[in-house]
């Protein structure tokens, strides 16, 4: 399915622009790295607070870092889409890329579950901060994002392309 999308994108004006503008790719990489620093830096603090390793008082304290995480995510979403648009044929068949996208989806679902199911209940003190569900959410978040990081790094080295 990805290959069909890739074929549609190949040759479009946006694709041509990314391919043809020599300074764009390094700029996208730079922004992508800055985005991942914000995303993962923030999530390390938030997730380790959820897991219970970092004890900085009120659990809500670490959550104030979440805007930075979201900014990082959106920077990477935009630059990531432009990477794909710039070289769709390579990415669509790359196994590391495919796995990376699946894990990002899992991380997103995990975050949604936490935000809509656990956080409201936590705020009302209906479950304790040491609830096992909260620890699992934090641990899953950390492991998926670090695996995403590794897979992104390995795109040029795994599978075709």
């Amino acid at each position: 399915m990805l290959e069909i999308i890739a074929e549609e994108i190949f040759g479009t004006p946006l694709n041509q622009w990314v391919v043809g503008t020599y300074w764009l790719w390094p700029l996208l990489e730079i922004i992508h790295f800055i985005g991942l620093s914000l995303l993962i830096g923030g999530l390390i603090v938030v997730d380790l607070s959820l897991v219970g390793v970092l004890r900085s008082g009120r659990w809500a304290d670490s959550h104030r870092l979440l805007p930075a995480v979201v900014v990082g995510f959106f920077l990477n979403l935009v630059t990531g889409v432009l990477f794909f648009v710039g070289d769709p044929m390579r990415y669509s068949v790359n196994i590391a890329f495919q796995a990376k996208m699946i894990l990002i989806l899992i991380a997103g679902l995990n975050a949604l579950y936490y935000h809509h199911r656990l956080m409201p209940v936590l705020a009302l003190d209906k479950i304790g901060q040491s609830s096992i569900k909260i620890k699992i959410v934090g641990l899953l978040s950390l492991t998926t994002w670090f695996t995403v990081l590794a897979l992104g790094r390995l795109i040029p080295y795994l599978g075709t392309g």
Partner: protein, 145 residues
């Protein structure tokens, strides 16, 4: 000396082994996320973002950042060894190393001031952010120059 380093058995292993280089790059980006990620957010907070958060929020993270520094020193040296003669004359690489050193120095100053309860003029975290951002930028540009 660099030619000797590049032809050493360790450096040869890094450049010839199918998996060594990508594995080292992966370790290196884990370290980057630990160091730059945590320091950047700490610095943003010291500049004035994330109002209302406790100073102790980043207290337990120093061990993680130190671990990140350690694995990046090791992986960085191994990566360097396999391309020593090229990197030593690469301007982006030299800028990156300088900025890493300066960024670490800033962290040292920030740490000391926090420990002794001294005030934190904004230029320390601002400088730290600048150096780490420049380290990332020049790191990415190594492949292009």
């Amino acid at each position: 000396m660099l030619v000797w380093l590049e032809s050493s058995s360790v450096a040869s292993w890094v450049s010839l082994s199918l998996w060594a280089y990508p594995a080292l790059l992966t370790v290196h980006i884990f370290g980057l996320a630990l160091v730059v990620g945590l320091y950047a957010l700490r610095d943003f907070r010291l500049i004035g973002f994330f109002a209302g958060t406790n100073a102790s929020l980043f207290e337990g993270t120093n061990l993680l950042s130190s671990f990140g520094i350690a694995i990046n020193l090791v992986s960085g040296f191994l990566l360097f060894s396999s391309q020593a003669t090229f990197l030593i004359s690469s301007i982006p690489f030299l800028v990156k190393i300088s900025c890493v050193a300066l960024g670490l120095a800033c962290s040292g100053v920030i740490g000391v001031r926090q420990k002794n309860g001294l005030n934190m003029p904004r230029y320390y975290p601002a400088a730290s952010l600048f150096f780490w951002a420049t380290a990332i930028i020049s790191g990415r540009l190594i492949a292009y120059f």
